[in-house]
């Protein structure tokens, strides 16, 4: 192959990656209104909870995990010890360890920097979309990393823009409309389509019941316990021979 041929191949590889990136952006588009409303409310809640504007913005940009931020906030304001605040954030985030394990086979062949980025930008929404697309076979065959980058970049920009608007304009955002409920509804919209197989229904029910029973556990441990219980129940209810993504297939 001559220099021209190599050049053409590089160019077409770059354009394939751009196409995959845009496909990812389109895939996350639907869930952006929920992300936007929930980001706005999260921003407002941080300021109303007692954080000064620059600190709230720094927290939003660096932590990028609404549930951990909101769980840590009252402890921060009350002057709780550092270890307790970090531990609360950590336990609230334990579900991400499960997500990370689920994504691992798809990204195992990528360089370490890309895996770190995929982790940093992984949220309930981007992870659920990735897994759903993987199971429906609608992930692109090549350049999955570019597709996920498109998903994550779009989600991140939307979240941060709305969160920062909420922080800066907290006095003008009406709180009596119950806009924070859109965050819960957006999650319902992710659950609904996943309930198309019996093991998923069993898992969802068991998770919900255990989450209610374990609600009084400290540091939101109940969420993690409930997720594990649900996954175990769903697997027990799943009598099919598993058709999993083996690493060789999952990696490009």
């Amino acid at each position: 192959m001559g220099v021209d041929g190599q050049h053409r191949q590089l160019v077409s590889g770059a354009s394939e990656r751009r196409t995959a990136f845009r496909a990812g952006q389109r895939a996350i588009l639907q869930s952006l209104p929920g992300t936007a409303a929930w980001g706005l409310i999260c921003g407002v809640a941080m300021v109303k909870g007692g954080l000064a504007t620059p600190w709230a913005i720094a927290m939003s940009l660096l932590v990028y995990a609404a549930s951990a931020q909101l769980a840590a906030l009252p402890l921060i304001i009350a002057g709780a010890p550092l270890w307790l605040i970090i531990a609360t954030g950590f336990v609230t985030n334990l579900r991400f360890v499960i997500y990370s394990a689920a994504l691992r086979p798809y990204f195992a062949a990528e360089p370490v920097g890309k895996r770190a980025l995929a982790g940093f930008f992984m949220t309930d929404f981007t992870f659920t979309l990735f897994m759903r697309s993987a199971q429906e076979g609608s992930l692109p065959a090549r350049h999955r990393d570019a597709w996920f980058a498109g998903v994550c970049a779009t989600n991140w920009v939307t979240w941060q823009a709305c969160s920062i608007v909420g922080i800066v304009a907290s006095a003008y955002v009406p709180t009596q409309w119950g806009l924070e409920f859109t965050g819960t509804l957006a999650l319902v919209a992710l659950i609904g389509p996943a309930l198309n197989v019996r093991p998923a229904v069993v898992g969802a029910l068991v998770s919900a019941v255990v989450a209610l029973l374990a609600h009084s556990l400290p540091y939101r441990l109940g969420l993690f316990v409930a997720a594990i219980a649900g996954i175990v129940a769903a697997t027990l209810a799943d009598s099919r021979t598993p058709a999993p993504p083996r690493e060789a297939e999952a990696a490009q």
Binding site: Q30, S31, P33, G34, G50, A58, L62, V63, A65, A68, Q69, I76, L82, I85, I86, G89, F90, N93, R95, F96, Y99, A101, A102, L103, R104, P105, F107, A108, V112, R115, A118, G119, F120, D124, F127, T128, W177, G178, F181, T182, T184, L185, A189, I191, G192, A200, G203, A204, S207, A208, V210, L212, H215, L223, G230, I231, A234, P244, R246, E247
Partner: protein
């Protein structure tokens, strides 16, 4: 009201939270090929999204923040039912949010 927390202590808290979040999110991803779970467990994790989201949503709907509310007049429950009804015939998330918020708002106006 107390002064808003600020200064070095708050910076340390924010960086600590950021690092602990990053650690959970990247845990298995960073392990890459060096450490993997049993294959059967990785297969079971296909149910991770639906189970985790249900575990987040159930208390958010049925717990008011101070106590459980299993009554059919719980506006959050009515809102979720509105959203679920929409999802029976469409996957469109915007419509789901709109119908859920409509049911929730009407319930709060009528029952509140």
């Amino acid at each position: 009201m107390n002064e808003p927390v600020a200064g070095v202590a708050l910076a340390v808290v924010i960086v600590g939270l950021a690092l602990s979040t990053f650690a959970t999110r990247t845990s298995f991803l960073l392990a890459g090929r060096r450490f993997r779970l049993n294959h059967r467990i990785e297969v079971a994790l296909r149910y991770a999204p639906v189970c985790t989201l249900s575990a987040i949503v159930a208390p958010a709907v049925l717990h008011s923040g101070t106590e459980f509310d299993f009554s059919p007049a719980n506006p959050r429950l009515i809102g979720v039912l509105g959203a679920a009804l929409w999802l029976c015939w469409s996957r469109n998330i915007v419509g789901c949010l709109a119908s859920g918020m409509a049911a929730y708002s009407v319930a709060r106006l009528v029952l509140g």
